[in-house]
């Protein structure tokens, strides 16, 4: 069924063996929107992202990128070119420099000319503030710098949206800040983003919509202020309040 949403997920189910981790997830993303998925660990948040580009093929349900049904397409590689993915553990290619990491998708997948790819790679590295590290290898970069290379690599492909899978969970608070700043700028520039994170301050200030998940279900979704101040479900309140107690109200 075609849809006017940029990304649409309908009744997504997923299991690892006997363990059903997603029990019917439906959500949609319009162009330019930033949605943030939060919830306790092990509730299938990352699985949704992996299901979307079929790094882990979903068990059942339908996912659309505009008019194309991702879940049944034979051209999954073309879909993956249009959806950026940022990994928790960065996923940088260890044998390539920062610039090489950003270029490889352009030269090998998009068959772009090397000069042109290099130009784009430099632009994207500048955009995330690490143009000066273009010739460094991953092992020579800090975690925050690595993740920014990961974001630049996704951006260089000119994706329609970017999925972030706990992009700051491997970083200390200082490095987390520099990555979140980059993501905040992207949101302001109108990039469409679906983000799984535990950074409540970020979720609260940047998300157009907050999605609270638990036990394989979406418990509640809506504007972040509503969920934080006036949630409809007891569980949402408990989870978000616990975090607010622990970390305060976040930024600003």
């Amino acid at each position: 069924m075609p849809t006017k949403h940029l990304l649409k997920i309908e009744d997504l189910h997923h299991s690892f063996g006997e363990d059903e981790v997603l029990k019917g997830i439906s959500l949609a993303l319009n162009k330019g929107e930033t949605k943030v998925i939060v919830g306790p660990s092990g509730t299938g948040k990352s699985t949704i992202l992996n299901n979307i580009i079929r790094l882990v093929p979903p068990v059942s349900g339908k996912i659309y990128l505009e008019d194309v049904e991702i879940t049944s397409t034979k051209k999954i590689n073309q879909i993956r070119q249009q959806i950026g993915f940022v990994f928790q553990d960065f996923g940088l290619f260890n044998h390539l420099t920062a610039k090489g990491n950003v270029m490889i998708g352009l030269t090998k997948v998009k068959k772009m000319d090397k000069k042109e790819a290099e130009k784009i790679a430099m632009e994207e590295l500048e955009r995330v503030g690490i143009g000066g590290f273009a010739d460094s290898y991953p092992s020579q970069l800090s975690g925050g710098q690595k993740q920014r290379v990961g974001i630049a690599r996704a951006l260089a492909m000119k994706p329609k949206l970017i999925l972030f899978d706990e992009p700051t969970s491997s970083l200390d608070p200082e490095l987390t800040g520099e990555v979140l700043t980059v993501m905040r700028n992207l949101a302001q520039e109108g990039m469409t983003m679906l983000i799984v994170t535990h950074e409540m301050g970020f979720a609260r200030t940047v998300a157009d919509e907050l999605i609270f998940m638990e036990g394989g279900h979406i418990i509640e979704q809506g504007p972040p202020e509503k969920l934080f101040k006036n949630p409809e479900h007891k569980r949402t309140r408990e989870f978000l309040f616990k975090l607010t107690d622990l970390y305060g109200e976040g930024e600003e």
């Binding site: 070119q81 290619f93 090998k108 991953p138 092992s139």
Partner: protein, 220 residues
């Protein structure tokens, strides 16, 4: 010993040339075979994977000399005849390929699965990811084992003497059987092997440093 070297160096060097030729062809072709075998074993379907596993088990589980005899003395019964050097090279390629496949399998599996996943996320096919991301890392990690294999091969190539391929060992034996100075002749032959191997180890270490990537050895 020096006089033996001076008297016979043209013969010894000719033999050394054949030894190096056999080694180079066997080792490099063995690498190519090893790459295909290891990829088949790891990424192939069940049939391919099992066939490769069985092939490697058979080759590693039987003596090189027996394999060499089957190819050189056995196959002519079925109308397949090879010159001694060709027979030696074929059996060495097969043997080295099987060993190198196992070295490579280890180094391919040491490249984290996240690397291939990241390649897929950019829209690469599995094979593009293997070629552009996994293999460039795995091949760097396999260089020390490959160096070892090359050194073994220089020495194992002396087995070719039993089927009369005129490599260094054969030349040595021919010289010794004429002048009966077995000790001196074989000492000279041994020294030539030693010097050549020291040179190659040095070259490979340089190569390893040249393709090294900062911090790469410690990444997992």
């Amino acid at each position: 010993m020096l006089d033996i070297f001076l008297d016979f160096y043209p013969l010894l060097f000719r033999g050394l040339g054949v030894t190096l030729l056999i080694t180079l062809i066997s080792c490099t072709s063995g690498t190519i075979l090893g790459i295909f075998l290891s990829l088949g074993k790891i990424y192939g379907n069940k049939l391919v994977s099992r066939t490769v596993t069985a092939f490697i088990a058979i080759i590693r589980g039987t003596p090189l000399l027996v394999q060499l005899f089957i190819i050189y003395y056995g196959l002519p019964a079925y109308g397949i005849r090879f010159a001694p050097i060709t027979a030696a090279v074929i059996s060495f390629i097969i043997n080295s390929g099987a060993y190198q496949a196992e070295y490579l399998r280890g180094s391919i599996q040491s490249v984290s699965s996240g690397q291939l996943k990241a390649a897929l996320s950019l829209g690469m096919t599995k094979w593009m990811g293997i070629i552009h991301v996994v293999l460039p890392q795995a091949l760097r990690r396999v260089i020390p084992a490959w160096t070892n294999e090359f050194i073994y091969m220089i020495k194992y190539s002396s087995l070719a003497y039993v089927i009369g391929a005129k490599e260094l060992m054969t030349e040595g034996k021919l010289i010794a059987s004429r002048n009966f100075q077995f000790f001196n002749v074989y000492m000279v032959v041994a020294l030539i092997y030693l010097v050549v191997i020291i040179i190659f180890v040095h070259l490979f270490n340089k190569f390893e440093k040249k393709v090294a990537i900062p911090g790469f050895d410690f990444e997992r």
